[in-house]
C-alpha cells in the first residue's frame, strides 16, 4: 500500500509539476564553547618555580660577598596538575641542586582567564604571565670554603579547587585541579659548607620549590 501511494508522487516530478521542496538540511551545530568555573578553592601557599640556578664558591679564608647573576630568560603562565601538589625543600646532592619534577599541564586561554579572575580577587599579585630575565643579580655572603646557591624563578601561588565546564557534554566535569598562578620573580639563596653531607642534604636555609624547568 505504501508503494502504491508513493510512486505517483515520484512520477509527478516534471517541469509542469515541480517536486515538493526538499526537507531542510541540518545545519552544523556551533562549536561548543564551554563556560569554565573554578570554585571550592583552597589556598595551598606558595612555592618557587625554579628557572635558573647560579652558584659561587668562596675559596678565600674569610667570609665574602658574592654576586650571583641569572643567565636565563623565561615566562610562566597559569598551569594545572591533576596531582596533589607537594612542595619540596630544594635539596643538595654532591653540590648540585636537586628539584623533584612534577608534570604540569598548560591551561587553555579561556580557562586561564577564569582562574585568573577568581584568584586575582583574593591575591592582587597574581598575574596571567610572569617572566624572569637574564642579568638579574643578587649578592650573598658566603663563608670561607662554602658554596653559595641562588635559585631564581617565579613565585607561584598554589591553590587546589574544582575546575569544571558547562555547555559541552564531552568535557569532564568537576576535576580536582592544583593550579599554579605566577606572581613575581624571586631569588631564594642559601649556602652550604664548608662541612657537607656527601649523601645529600639541605643548605643553610630552606627554599620551597615545585620543580625545575626540565620537569615541566
Amino acid at each position: 500500500m505504501a508503494l502504491a501511494v508513493l510512486l505517483p508522487a515520484c512520477s509527478a516530478a516534471s517541469p509542469s509539476n515541480p517536486a515538493p521542496s526538499l526537507p531542510p538540511v541540518p545545519t552544523p551545530t556551533a562549536k561548543c564553547s564551554p563556560t569554565f568555573v573554578y570554585d571550592n578553592v583552597k589556598d595551598q601557599g606558595t612555592a618557587l618555580d625554579v628557572l635558573d640556578v647560579e652558584t659561587a664558591y668562596n675559596g678565600t679564608a674569610n667570609s665574602a660577598p658574592f654576586t650571583l647573576t641569572s643567565s636565563h630568560s623565561h615566562s610562566v603562565s597559569i598551569q594545572a596538575s591533576a596531582q596533589t601538589i607537594t612542595r619540596f625543600r630544594a635539596e643538595l646532592d654532591g653540590g648540585a641542586v636537586v628539584v623533584a619534577p612534577i608534570p604540569w599541564d598548560p591551561v587553555g586561554y579561556v580557562a586561564g582567564q577564569v582562574i585568573y579572575n577568581v584568584l586575582h580577587q583574593s591575591n592582587s599579585s597574581i598575574q596571567e604571565q610572569a617572566s624572569v630575565s637574564a642579568g638579574s643579580s643578587i649578592t650573598i655572603t658566603i663563608p670561607p670554603g662554602a658554596k653559595g646557591y641562588g635559585l631564581y624563578g617565579i613565585m607561584m601561588d598554589v591553590t587546589q579547587g574544582d575546575l569544571s565546564s558547562e555547555g559541552c557534554a564531552d568535557l569532564a566535569q568537576d576535576i580536582p585541579e592544583t593550579i599554579l598562578a605566577p606572581t613575581q620573580y624571586e631569588w631564594c639563596v642559601f649556602t652550604e659548607g664548608p662541612d657537607t653531607f656527601p649523601e645529600g642534604g639541605y643548605g643553610s636555609s630552606s627554599c620551597l620549590v615545585i620543580g625545575n624547568q626540565e620537569g615541566h
Binding site: 664548608p194 662541612d195 653531607f197 656527601p198 649523601e199 645529600g200 642534604g201 643548605g203 643553610s204
Partner: protein, 134 residues
C-alpha cells in the same frame, strides 16, 4: 618486624641517602636521641662509631652515630652542622623506625675550625657535640 621488613626499611633508608643499622638492645620507654658519637668509621656489626675523637683533620670523612628510640615509626630525625653559630647544612631527614635503632650519617668536614653537630628529633634538638677540625 621481620627480617624482610627490616631489609625493606634499610633499602628505603639507603635510597634516601642514609645508612642504617639495627640495634639489638632492649627498647626503653622514652622517645628521643641518645649515644651521639663521632668517629672516622662505622662498625655496622657492633653499631658503633670507630676511631672516635674530638679532633679531626680537614677534608676528612667522618661518621655521626646516634641511637633513636621511638615508640612509633615515623619521627623525623635530622643532623645539623654549624660553625661559629651559623648553620652550614642539614642532613636529609631520617624517618626513624619504631623501637631502638642506630643510625650513622657520613659528613665531609672542611677546613680548620670548631664544628657543632646537632641531632634533632621532630624538630627539637636533643643531642649536641663539638669537634675540632685542624
Amino acid at each position: 618486624m621481620n627480617k624482610t621488613a627490616w631489609g625493606a626499611l634499610a633499602v628505603a633508608a639507603l635510597g634516601a641517602g642514609i645508612a642504617v643499622s639495627i640495634a639489638v638492645g632492649p627498647s626503653g620507654p622514652g622517645n628521643g636521641i641518645s649515644g651521639l658519637a663521632v668517629g672516622t668509621g662505622y662498625d655496622a656489626s657492633q653499631h658503633v662509631a670507630t676511631g672516635q675523637a674530638a679532633d679531626f683533620a680537614p677534608d676528612q670523612n667522618i661518621y655521626v652515630v646516634f641511637t633513636v628510640q621511638s615508640r612509633s615509626s615515623g619521627p623525623e630525625v635530622e643532623v645539623s652542622l654549624l660553625r661559629n653559630g651559623s648553620l652550614e647544612g642539614v642532613s636529609l631527614p631520617i624517618k626513624a623506625a619504631k623501637g631502638r635503632t642506630v643510625y650513622d650519617v657520613p659528613v665531609t668536614i672542611g677546613g680548620p675550625g670548631i664544628v657543632t653537630i646537632e641531632v634533632s628529633y621532630n624538630g627539637a634538638v636533643q643531642q649536641t657535640m663539638q669537634i675540632k677540625v685542624g
